[in-house]
């Protein structure tokens, strides 16, 4: 009897492979979940309409020294009992040919609290999801060095994704420093 059960289970393997998977095969985290993960104590995420002046945009470009590749970010002001806790920002960068959607949480000190990959659509380079790699960004701010290769180590085989995410976070830190404060 036990043997027969085992055999049946093996027949289920190909079924599992072709069965419809849950929605969002490339989506690893929803925005609301990422917000709670980054700021578990927060009780309000208030949307902030990001509309920089041309001068601010030029200043951000200069400070970020990397080209914007995927439009403006979406930004929330984070509070707990009316007290500011920081900022939560969702942004896109290009990996090789597809967008990577990621979220950066900035604390009251304007330093990175966490970086999460929300959506990864490329064939290669998914290794940027690795927690140890993402933790390299913790504590970085607009006033600390953030250069790919020097401050953020590469992942062999995922160079483009690593480089572009580093550029993206540097841009968000510049936005915080020059527009949000």
């Amino acid at each position: 009897m036990r043997k027969r059960t085992g055999t049946s289970a093996w027949f289920l393997v190909p079924v599992a492979l072709v069965a419809p998977a849950p929605a969002g095969a490339t989506q690893y985290l929803k925005v609301e979940d990422a917000q709670k993960l980054a700021f578990p104590q927060a009780d309000a995420f208030t949307p902030f309409a990001y509309a920089p002046t041309p001068e601010q945009r030029a200043a951000v470009d200069q400070a970020a020294h990397a080209r914007a590749t995927a439009g403006d970010p979406a930004i929330w002001r984070v509070t707990a009992a009316g007290q500011p806790m920081g900022w939560f920002i969702v942004d896109n960068v290009i990996g090789k040919v597809e967008h990577i959607t990621y979220a950066v949480a900035l604390g009251r000190d304007a330093a990175v609290r966490s970086l999460e990959i929300l959506d990864y659509r490329e064939t290669h380079g998914y290794e940027v999801r690795n927690a140890a790699w993402r933790r390299q960004f913790d504590g970085k701010s607009a006033h600390t060095p953030l250069e790919f290769g020097d401050d953020i180590k590469n992942i062999s085989g995922a160079t483009l994704s690593c480089r572009h995410l580093t550029d993206g976070v540097r841009r968000l830190l510049a936005i915080q420093d020059l527009v949000l404060r």
Partner: protein, 431 residues
């Protein structure tokens, strides 16, 4: 302004009625009124023109409101539309043998165009088309190839499949062979002569990855065709497996192969991994003297990139079983089928200078490889001698104009066949 105009006209009309008794005076007033109306008409026309000009100069209103900007909502998480994107890479090289400059060549070594078409968030097509050596015809040496053509299906967030013609996951170079991704003008010898980069097969591949940084591949595919072995040529000495691979060109597929790979990238800057490929190569060829011959190739590799340093290395070894009966029929020819072949290299690079997107990185590599390390024992002293193990030093510089464009130069020094010593220049790109 319109109200002012009407009031002026009414006032003028009342005034004219009150003094209608004097015809001459009335005529003068009518003339004045006519002049005033003409002036007012001119003023109105001028105002209309100014208004039209102002409307033209003003920035157009956006056709749609940027909801994300206006409300702070998240950007759309998934672009659920079909989408085709193009990519490519290329390398153009100059090779100058230092002991025989008459063999100096310049070559458009590779120009590759590819595209990805995504049908939805879990299904996409990847195609890569390659031209080697610029011109392809019956009278030229160039080749045109389909390098990759597979359908990728994302089963879930940690599991995906490839079906079609894909690169075998082995070594450091085979899956990442774009010129911006390696040091030196030409690809290293070990991952050319022993692992036949760019090595692809047709089949099914299952890929898994874990958030810890561990990833694995497993699959079945077409394999090698040992009946293609040409003992009269030296091609088998240059690359034993490169001379019998099939590249899905009407590939003999009676004997399928299996493969697997495992890689760990859980520590930033570190990669360690290993891979294995094995399959029979007789392919049911009638009267073939090695029907059960099996080709096995494996490798271990590692890379450590702590900041500006980049250090990496690889060991690989291949084996072809049951070759004795085949080699007996080939005795007297220059190239018999080896039983064992191997190669390894260590390499280091240091980013010496960088400014904005530019950087200069010198590198040094030492590699040893032998494409005929051992041969199966044949009767009556017919066993061929093992080939000498070649060693190559390569020293050079990669100068990146930006991360996608690289200029290269190097010098290669051979230990055995010193006639191959050479100086190389190259330019490579990727987009």
């Amino acid at each position: 302004m319109k109200k002012t105009l009407v009031a002026a006209l009414v006032a003028s009309a009342f005034a004219a009625t009150a003094h209608a008794a004097d015809p001459a005076e009335l005529e003068k007033r009518v003339d004045r009124l006519s002049d005033e109306i003409a002036a007012l008409k001119a003023e109105i026309a001028k105002m209309k023109a100014e208004k039209a000009a102002a409307a033209q100069a003003a920035p157009a209103k956006p056709a749609t409101i940027d909801i994300a900007r206006a409300t702070g909502e998240a950007p759309k998480m998934y672009e659920d539309v079909e989408k085709t994107t193009f990519f490519g890479y290329g390398e153009l090289n100059y090779y100058r043998p230092t002991h025989d400059t008459s063999n100096t060549t310049a070559d458009a070594a590779r120009v590759v165009l590819g595209f990805e078409h995504r049908w939805n968030d879990r299904t996409r097509l990847v195609t890569e088309l390659e031209w080697e050596h610029a011109v392809t015809s019956s009278e030229d040496q160039g080749e045109s190839e389909v390098e990759q053509a597979y359908v990728e299906y994302q089963i879930n967030q940690n599991l995906s499949t490839k079906t079609g013609l894909f690169l075998i996951p082995m070594g450091l170079l085979n899956e990442h062979h774009e010129p911006t991704q390696y040091y030196g003008v030409a690809r290293n010898f070990v991952e050319t002569a022993i692992i036949p980069t760019t090595w692809r097969e047709g089949g099914l591949l299952l890929h898994g990855n874990h958030d810890s940084g561990l990833s694995w591949d497993a699959g079945i595919s077409t394999g090698f065709d040992l009946s293609k072995w040409d003992a009269t040529s030296t091609e088998g000495q240059e690359s034993p497996l490169g001379s019998i691979h099939q590249e899905l060109q009407l590939a003999k597929a009676k004997d399928l192969s299996g493969f697997g790979a495992i890689n760990y990238r859980g520590v930033p800057g570190l990669l360690v991994g290993a891979s294995l490929f094995s399959g029979k190569a007789g392919q049911g060829t009638p009267d073939f003297p090695a029907p059960d011959a099996r080709v096995t190739l494996w490798d271990v590799h590692g890379r450590w990139t702590p900041g500006d340093w980049d250090i990496w290395g690889l060991y690989t070894r291949g084996h072809i079983s049951d070759t004795a009966n085949l080699n007996v029929t080939l005795v007297g020819n220059p190239t018999l089928v080896p039983e064992d072949f191997f190669g390894w290299y260590v390499s280091g690079a240091y980013k010496l200078w960088s400014k904005d997107e530019m950087s200069a990185t010198p590198f040094l590599r030492y590699e040893r490889y032998n494409t005929g390390w051992k041969y199966a024992t044949l009767p009556a002293g017919l066993t061929p001698d093992a080939l000498p193990t070649e060693g190559v030093w390569t020293a050079g510089l990669n100068f990146y104009l930006n991360p996608s464009v690289v200029f290269k130069m190097d010098y290669q020094k051979f230990k055995q066949d010193t006639t191959r010593d050479r100086f190389d220049l190259g330019v490579g790109y990727q987009f």
